[in-house]
Amino acid sequence: MEKYWNESMECATHNEMRSLQSFRLSQTVRRVYENVKPYREKMDAAGVKPEDIKSVDDLYKLPFTMKQDLRDNYPYGLFAVPMEEVVRLHASSGTTGKQIVVGYTENDLEVWKECCARALTAAGATKHDFMHVSYGYGLFTGGFGIHNGAEKVGMTVIPVSTGNTKRQINIIKDFGSTFLCCTPSYALYLAETMEEMGITKDDIKLKGGLFGAEPWTEEMRQEIQNKLGIKAMDIYGLTEVIGPGVAFECCEQNGMHINEDHFIVETIDPDTGEVLPEGSQGEIVFTCITKEAFPVIRYRTRDIGVLKREKCSCGRNLVKMMKPKGRTDDMLIIRGVNVFPSQIESVLLQLGNTAPYYQLIVDRVNNTDTLEIQVELSPEMFSDTVKSLEDSEKLIKSAIDSTLGISASIRLVEPKTIPRVEGKAVRVIDNRRKKQ
């Protein structure tokens, strides 16, 4: 028998949900129009007034919000409440190294906990369980998001954060962790390290896990489930909207239910911006309808996905989002971190004497993402001594590592050897895709 955290919302009929969404949407739009200048200017430019938005059917009239809008208004330009009401900040990386900052009021944190609590309950977690959180704690939303949701459920939370894998395994074993939360690639890495340590799945009490923050395949799910002896659930979220918990899987493990009472979802044609009928593949767009501090309106996620509204065997009526199938931009997710090729370009240009020709080789070795950056050597950079070339490599590496927030290996290559298509270099070779 499936358990719900909030049955009245999760199992509400479509009509009930729709009228709640319409009410919350019109309120949010009015508040945002009054309090956030950039939203007001965009609506004015589009000739839309708050009173024009009476229901979800009017949503299409509102202008989109792009990632660039968030960057342009860094850090607090899109906040809809005074800072004294903001009790928490989180941030995510952007293409230029400039972060995107989001804020939460006390009530926003409650909404977030609620969303995560639903996800955890759907995964089978109860207050009798021990939640091992291996997501990073910090500006990244993963750690704190799941942590607070798990506490809300009443779970015994173990805030391990990232790193020191052997210690993590000892904690799982000794503390009796029953649920695990981390990136799917880290889950597999944990499983492998466990094998090396001679610990089997029978030695541990794990029975379930929630994994997200990077794309993963059905094959990876099977592997995680088999190796750790658990049920592995997908969880979806993005910092701009709230963090993990925007959508979550139920026992069916086939699509993620979106918390529609907090977020209205649309699919649009990424080229024309036209709203597509539910069931068509398109870019996923979210509108926050309960958030106070940072309510994004029609935020374009760049994720390509499909929505399915059908009676789910779990009993929930929340619309399901099938696993995102890709992105409309060139963003890569490497070890859970967003990486844009343009970040590397800007680092190389800042360093001066390197050619802006580079290639990213992304791979997955031992279930961990690897990133190699090949940089074409410029005549100015070349020297007859190995030491000075290695110094150049180190300089590039430290600049890139600190911009991306993850470690990359640098490889200098001969000029004009990176393949060019119509004069433009092929920026990314993602070997992970071949392995999927």
Partner: protein
């Protein structure tokens, strides 16, 4: 100052690169007098002393190679135990650091010679000559 021009070429560690470079030299009738390669995991630096460094440099650049001309010292040595230690003593005493070196035989008289890359060419040339070490010039090398 008796300095000679060395050609350094960036070589990626992948099959066929050395073959391609030696063909460029062959097609331009360049004679290699001395050669050494410094290697790391991902790349190497091919260092050459040739009969016509300017021509070789241009040919390699035209073929999109990353090339650099560097001034180095060429030293004629007595081919007997201790021949090189005089040179090292002199450099050490004058606090001159050696970046790299490699040896070759002079075609002219079959004597040993060493290419030296130091952090201060001018000072090294001065102190070595003072210590009685004979330095080869580009003209002599070219005729070798």
């Amino acid at each position: 100052m008796p300095l000679i021009k060395q050609i350094s070429i960036f070589v990626e560690n992948k099959p066929g690169r050395l073959k391609a470079m030696t063909h460029i030299l062959k097609d331009n009738d360049i004679d290699i007098l001395a050669i050494s390669i410094a290697d790391t995991k991902d790349f190497g630096i091919l260092r050459l002393i040739v009969n016509d460094p300017d021509k070789a440099c241009k040919a390699l650049k035209d073929a999109e190679c990353t090339v650099k001309l560097t001034d180095v010292l060429a030293i004629k040595l007595e081919d007997k135990p201790g021949g090189l230690s005089v040179v090292m003593d002199t450099l050490f005493d004058n606090q001159i650091s050696v970046e790299y070196m490699y040896a070759f035989f002079s075609k002219q008289d079959g004597q040993a010679a060493v290419i030296l890359r130091v952090d201060d060419n001018e000072k090294a040339a001065q102190v070595l000559e003072k210590a009685g070490v004979s330095l080869l010039t580009g003209e002599i090398i070219g005729k070798m």
